[in-house]
Amino acid sequence: MERNLALIALFAALIAALGLIPKFTLGFGVPITAQSLGVMLCGTVLGSKRGALAVLLFLLLVALGLPLLAGGRGGLGLFVSPSAGFLIGFPIAAFVTGFIVEKWRAAPLGLVSGLGSVVGGVIVLYVFGIAGLAIVLGKSIPEAALLVIAFLPADFVKAILAGVITAALAKARPQSILSRA
């Protein structure tokens, strides 16, 4: 019980920390923020329930006024801003990603984590993100989708990286991969 709480809290802190260390590159000099990568890792490492709880805890603190979102952003304003859909989508993305990793045991962890991250961390997340954008900006779904399409390739790569990182984590700290416990 204590270990669950500690892992959930530390992964919530990890999402925050990943948003606050300087942006790093994908390797082509394209800067990316690692926060959504952190959300995917919550799912792939902690599994569906604990992963979603970690992300929810993170969002709760952002709502309470802590500047934990990339760029030092926070506060209630974010939940009525264009990013609101993505914020709401984060815990659901982590849940879906974790669910896929937990249930699909036949394939290697790295592959399952990567694909799970694509389904949860990209597809599901963008569904919520685009819906939120459409509502806040008063646009139609296709119009809102057009606004974010440029970010899809980078997020797709992030999902693959989540798979690679999870596989490496399983070697370094096998006991911590709760999604496969």
């Binding site: 490496a168 070697k171 370094a172 700290r173």
Partner: protein
């Protein structure tokens, strides 16, 4: 390891640095040619900041740092070839899962080919008598072994100056002595930073950093003895109670 006839030069002029209006380094002036230099001081005296500024990782507000004539802040590429820094905690320093990858990282970043990197990495492992470590997992080795990996990763880049920032933190006596054996065999200039005078015995020159300033600069014997006397005197006081800010 190559035998380096010409000792490296370390020049710091008017180096000043403050953070959040708190001065950390105050007008540091240093000119050194020795091969074994010690920096001693209490925790909070500015030693860690000194190490970061000396290696070029942090730019001072004022002043210049030149190692072998290179401005380590402005010319990062040249600085990376000339200065290496070993940090306190190897857990915050090792990035890669295997020893090979960790050792090869700096070389690849410098532009070495895969083949050349492999060759250099195996060269360093051989020099340290650790060829069997090539495929070892960095997360499974002991703290002392991790420090050695970090040291090898630095030596692989063949720097002229190696800064050791409190490298013995948390290590037991045998591990410290063993690491010292490896330090002694390094041909580059060593600048060893420590709060423990015992680690700096036998160094050519020891500088005492106090409150961001150089308090004493001379032979190991005299500086360390004065430092130790002062530390023991402070031990009878109670500055541990003071809160900063």
């Amino acid at each position: 390891m190559e035998f380096n006839e010409l000792a490296a030069t370390v020049e710091m002029t008017g180096v000043t640095l403050s953070r959040n209006e708190k001065p950390l380094l105050k007008d540091i002036k240093l000119s050194a040619r020795e091969k074994r230099i010690g920096i001693v001081g209490r925790n909070g005296s500015g030693k860690t900041t000194f190490a970061r500024v000396l290696s070029g990782l942090v730019a001072p507000d004022q002043g210049e740092v030149r190692i072998c004539g290179i401005d380590v802040v402005k010319d990062r590429k040249a600085a990376l070839r000339s200065v290496g820094i070993l940090f306190q905690n190897p857990d915050h320093q090792i990035i890669f899962p295997t020893v090979e990858e960790e050792l090869g990282f700096g070389l690849i970043q410098m532009g070495c080919s895969k083949l050349e990197t492999e060759h250099q990495v195996h060269g360093v492992l051989k020099a340290f008598d650790k060829r069997h470590w090539a495929k070892a997992q960095t997360h499974q080795i002991s703290q002392g072994q991790k420090q050695l990996v970090c040291l090898m990763a630095i030596i692989a880049m063949k720097p002229q100056v190696v800064i050791l920032d409190e490298p013995f933190s948390g290590l037991d006596i045998p591990t410290r002595l063993q690491l010292t054996y490896y330090f002694d065999r390094i041909d580059a200039t060593l600048i060893h930073i420590s709060h423990n005078p015992e680690s700096l015995q036998g160094y050519e020159r020891v500088i005492w950093l106090d409150n961001g300033q150089i308090r004493e600069d001379g032979s190991a014997a005299s500086t360390l003895s004065n430092f130790t006397k002062h530390m023991n005197a402070l031990g009878t006081q109670d500055d541990i109670s003071e809160l900063i800010g």
